[in-house]
């Protein structure tokens, strides 16, 4: 469809070659290196690749990759969709995704929350989906109040249609400068970052899902869509049983956000929902891996809000393996472990591993949660009786487990 200028065509082709090499040599899935090569040769490549396509940008602290996948599935009803399915969510990953599907009239891009202003400016995306904001990798990430402020500036004065979770006050504030917003009552499990009004700093009064500032006029907007347990409520008040295969309340919320985005693209719920139900695992999340009769279900969880969501999914009847690293992508500061309430794990067999297992060990000790300390994930798995076990791991710990058991998605 898009006829790229010669230089951009070359940049895009060389980028794809680098990606292929990366995959062939087993260095990665190729989605970052390919885009980097392309961007190096043609800095304006992303703008050119985005032109003439209908794009949705998906951003949040948690649930970006999953929601991107759900929206992509829904939009496949309309035609070919370009997407960065493996979580390469910075501009190099976007270039790579759009290069690989040059003819796709639609694009669904997961966007790192810090890069959202830049990517929105560059791509001119028509739809932006914003789910939640909470503390995450504080040693390298922008602080979230500041981040929401940047979203406001980026959205102001643009025709973008924003789909935003109005149960998250900071997201609501970040989205509310947009010309058009569809509000979704998507729920908010983690509230520790939103006790104060983002507008004035006053206390937020909360009653059930509703919230309002005690000191200024900032309050929860009236939602058009809502999630009610396993039911999505559309703007006409019609109730749709979600019945998706992805587990947990966070994914039911992601699904309703995805339905609202699909609706913005003209895909009605009756066509979108069956597509969402086909999604079983997203970039390894919720996959079960097996070794010697031990079936380990992998849950990815990168920050305190993510751990709450993982606890919601984990089966209280099963033993649980926790793996924590602190490499660059995880954040090098493990202080956040102290924001997670681990007491819910009391009474389950708990196994602790990962490069920063001593941090987690002390954390559990102080929470009075008994556990076994294991040098490696394999050791932890071997200690299980045959049968099922849940695994919660943060980013690089999760990737290590996946690469050992194969990256099949």
């Amino acid at each position: 469809m898009t006829q790229l200028p010669l230089r951009a065509q070359l940049a895009s082709a060389l980028g794809r070659s680098a990606a292929t090499l990366s995959r062939m040599t087993g260095r990665g899935d190729g989605s970052v290196i390919g885009g980097r090569v392309g961007l190096l040769l043609e800095p304006d490549l992303l703008r050119k690749l985005a032109r003439d396509r209908k794009l949705a940008l998906i951003s949040a602290t948690n649930g970006k990759t999953t929601t991107t996948r759900l929206v992509t599935s829904a939009l496949l009803e309309l035609g070919e969709v370009a997407t960065n399915a493996f979580g390469a969510n910075m501009p190099a990953g976007h270039v790579s995704a759009l290069s690989q599907h040059k003819g796709a009239p639609y694009g669904v891009l997961e966007v790192d929350e810090k890069y959202l202003p830049e990517v929105l400016d560059t791509t001119g995306a028509g739809v932006v989906c914003l789910m939640n904001l909470s503390r995450d990798q504080m040693d390298r990430a922008a602080e979230i109040w500041l981040l929401a402020q940047k979203w406001r500036r980026a959205l102001s004065g643009k025709p973008t249609h924003v789909i935003a979770n109005c149960d998250d006050p900071l997201v609501t504030w970040g989205a509310s400068t947009a010309a058009k917003v569809t509000w979704v009552a998507g729920g908010q499990r983690w509230k520790e970052d939103s006790w104060c009004c983002p507008e004035c700093g006053g206390p937020l009064d909360r009653k059930d899902a509703d919230w309002a500032c005690r000191e200024c006029t900032f309050h929860r907007p009236e939602p058009q869509w809502a999630v009610d347990d396993d039911v999505a409520i559309d703007p006409n008040g019609e109730r749709w049983l979600l019945d998706i295969q992805l587990p947990g309340a966070a994914n039911r919320s992601n699904a309703v956000m995805a339905l609202a985005v699909a609706d913005a693209f003209g895909v009605p719920v009756e066509r979108a929902l069956p597509r969402l139900r086909e999604v079983t695992s997203v970039a390894g999340r919720y996959t079960t891996v097996e070794r010697d009769g031990r079936y380990a279900r992998l849950l990815l969880s990168k920050n305190p809000a993510g751990w709450l969501e993982a606890f919601d999914v984990a089966d209280p009847q099963l033993p649980i393996i926790l793996a924590v690293n602190a490499q660059g992508p995880d954040g090098r500061d493990t202080s956040w472990l102290w924001d997670v309430d681990y007491r819910i794990l009391r009474g389950r067999p708990v196994f602790v591993t990962g490069q920063r297992r001593l941090d987690l060990a002390l954390r559990l000790d102080v929470a009075d949660v008994p556990f076994m300390l294991c040098d490696t994930f394999n050791e932890a798995l071997a200690m299980q009786p045959p049968g099922r076990v849940d695994v919660i791991a943060n980013y690089t710990a999760f990737q290590q487990i996946r690469s050992e058991f194969g990256r099949a998605v």
Binding site: T334, W336, W338, D368
Partner: protein, 237 residues
């Protein structure tokens, strides 16, 4: 119900300043007190509520620029913390909370913002963000082992004659002048997260002993394993 014998811990403004896992300081104090048979009662004081004056041990943590400015305004207007400290209460102030205790600190654009004047320090915005592991030798008068923790701030803090440096920095930036943190009386300020008291249980015990007197020793092997791993990760051989 409050009991007269319980140790009263007051966590100041977790709704504004609790971004960096500093809740761990509260949890470690509670745990270490209870293991010695000392009951604890912890009050989480939201920023719209008055700071009680009857606490034994006060904690305030780190956070973003805007909440820091709001917290300083409210603490100054409230006055409860001043009265508690004047009455002999113990305070651990971390990072943004540490800066607030001084006369001024750097705001969102680096502009000077009034602190609450509990400590003879003043802070401003430094040239670059200090992020990473920190190691420091504690002032000999306090008789504590090496401090370990994680710092993440842009502040430079100048100590006045009314306070002493808490420690001399071996790895990391701290106050920006070769020292980390400060103390006077029963008030301790530090840039350390990690959280500070999880990484430094002896500092936790010092604060507890200021409230409860001599303490029985505990099995600190979990703490010690973590400390040794962290120190080995950053100290040269």
């Amino acid at each position: 119900m409050p009991s007269d014998s319980a140790l009263r811990i007051v966590w100041i403004y977790p709704d504004l300043l609790s971004t960096y896992g500093d809740q761990g300081n509260v949890l470690v104090l509670e745990r270490r007190a209870r293991l010695r048979g000392i009951d604890t009662e912890t009050v989480h004081v939201r920023s719209a509520d008055p700071v009680p004056e009857t606490g034994d041990l006060y904690l305030i943590g780190g956070g973003e620029d805007r909440p820091q400015i709001l917290a300083a305004e409210r603490l100054r207007r409230d006055g409860g913390l001043h009265r508690a400290i004047a009455g002999g209460a113990v305070l651990l102030a971390v990072c943004a909370g540490y800066q607030i205790m001084g006369s001024t600190f750097g705001g969102e654009e680096g502009q000077p913002v009034d602190g609450i004047g509990l400590l003879d320090i003043s802070s401003s915005r430094g040239p670059a963000r200090a992020v990473g592991e920190l190691v420091a030798e504690v002032d000999a008068a306090l008789n504590l082992p090496t401090l370990t923790g994680f710092e993440n701030h842009m502040g430079v803090t100048h100590l006045g004659p009314g306070v002493k440096p808490l420690s001399k920095t071996l790895v990391g930036i701290g106050n920006g002048d070769g020292f980390e943190g400060c103390y006077t009386g029963h008030v301790v300020g530090t840039y350390l997260h990690g959280p500070a008291l999880a990484r430094n249980p002896a500092l936790a015990d010092l604060l507890l002993s200021w409230c409860a007197g001599d303490l029985a020793p505990l099995d600190d092997s979990r703490y010690e394993a973590l400390r040794q791993e962290r120190l080995a990760a950053v100290l040269p051989d």
